[in-house]
Amino acid sequence: MAMRATLRCLSANFSTRLPQLSSAAQVSARRLLWRSSSPRTLSTTSVLSTALKFTEKHEWVQVEGGIGTVGISNYAQEALGDVVYCGLPEVGQKVEQMEEFGALESVKAASELYSPLTGEVTEINTELAENPGLVNKECYAKGWLIKMTIEKPEELDGLMDQAAYDKFVKSLEE
């Protein structure tokens, strides 16, 4: 049930954002994955660079052109309640993976935000200053939090894909 809801939320937010890979491109991408056995071949992450990856702290990151956009998942925004303030870092701030980079204050509590990757903040979502509720309403689209460079692309391999994350959320709800 939760998975279906999450997917519905995802597709509603994403229909205009994700570039569609042609089926031929998808097949050859998969073949590349099978063949990549040595570190010198294409890594998983650059091929699937437009899919969401998730952390155990319920943040997502979407990579495009070497820049990662970071936000919180639907599970997280629901758990948080109405966000009243977004405490985001400064542009140019360097963050380490799992390091705290800001906090969201909601009617429920102040909750820390943990960086999914190591890199430098290139942009923060200034719309959230006037409209923090975007984090609840469009957690995967207009409610994004920061954009950052990706210093260590291999960190992406350690994050969960959609299926793994859905499973993870299900296990928490039990």
Partner: protein, 383 residues
Amino acid sequence: MMTSQLRRTFSFLRAGTGPPLQAWTASRCLFLDSGSSSSDVGLVLQSQSTDVHQNLALEDWIDAHVDLQQRHILLLWRNRPAVVIGRHQNPWSECNLPAMRRAGIPLARRRSGGGTVFHDLGNLNLTFFASKKGYDRRRNLKVVTEALRRLGLDARATDRLDILLNGHYKISGTASRLSRKSSYHHCTLLHSADRSALSAVLRPSCPGVQSNATASVPSPVTNLVEHAPWLRWEQLLDAVLQQYNAEFGLSSASVLVNPADESEFPGLGSMAAELRSWDWTFGKTPKFSVETLLELRDEQLSARCSAQLHMEVRSGLVERCRLGVPAEWLPLGLSRQLSEVLLGERFCPHRAAAAVTALLLSESGPLNGRLQNLSEALLAAMG
């Protein structure tokens, strides 16, 4: 998560019967090794410190170092007079910094959200630690309201999680924090605080602050002793302790802890230092602007005029400053020099005064009086 050093230092002593508030020092009893019990365990701690930064650091220390997955902890504490603002608040709009400076009342920014409160020795702070799953603010507040009801007082929690006495006066406010693995929810409880000090400090420092920082919701407050003059501090603590035990199925006595003891709480000192730092207390203020009118006076000529002030402050530092002083009052070049000298300085009248001194000394002519007057008005607008 327990470090091996902590495991060596602490061993668990389950408090049995005896006078409810009898306390053992922390060196003898503290935390249960994780995994040694399948049922929930609870503990009531009482801080020996009355230093606001040390007590806030104690909260952070417990949150970071104690395994709260199957454990509930209640921490009782109080502070010497202090003003505590929420994580994302603006101290210049929430409290009267000049008045606090004069009275020696420090400012602290806590890590939880919520609004601004005044602490003194007549205010009891309660912190309920739990796992993220066990996070239940209403249940925690029930501990307080039930304890007060048993004492014959009409106390009820509102939707905002304030506690009102007799349906009208606020006696408690709530805030909380969700961190990596655990949670804490803390609230105040006004037993016998100095209400005139409270209202003197909980007003803005300077006019014209515009920001999207989280704002406090002012409410009329009262002390418990104003309605139950017989209620002693120890009785209140005892009632809360009993109710906590009842609510969570425990039988703890309260344990005294000393956060100043680095051997008991390694690293707490540096956590407190971070909380005391200007960078945390003021530097974490969300970006804001000041928009106000300065009233200028020339005593010698009995002349007056108004000047517009626009300042932008980011991370507590002046990022932009514009002084709209009529050219006939003061040459535009001079007012511009004055605003430029403040750029990059802390938004603080002391720092600003130091920065302005050189300019004042260099302008020793007939305009010195007006320049001084302008500087004073500017400093006054900075709280």
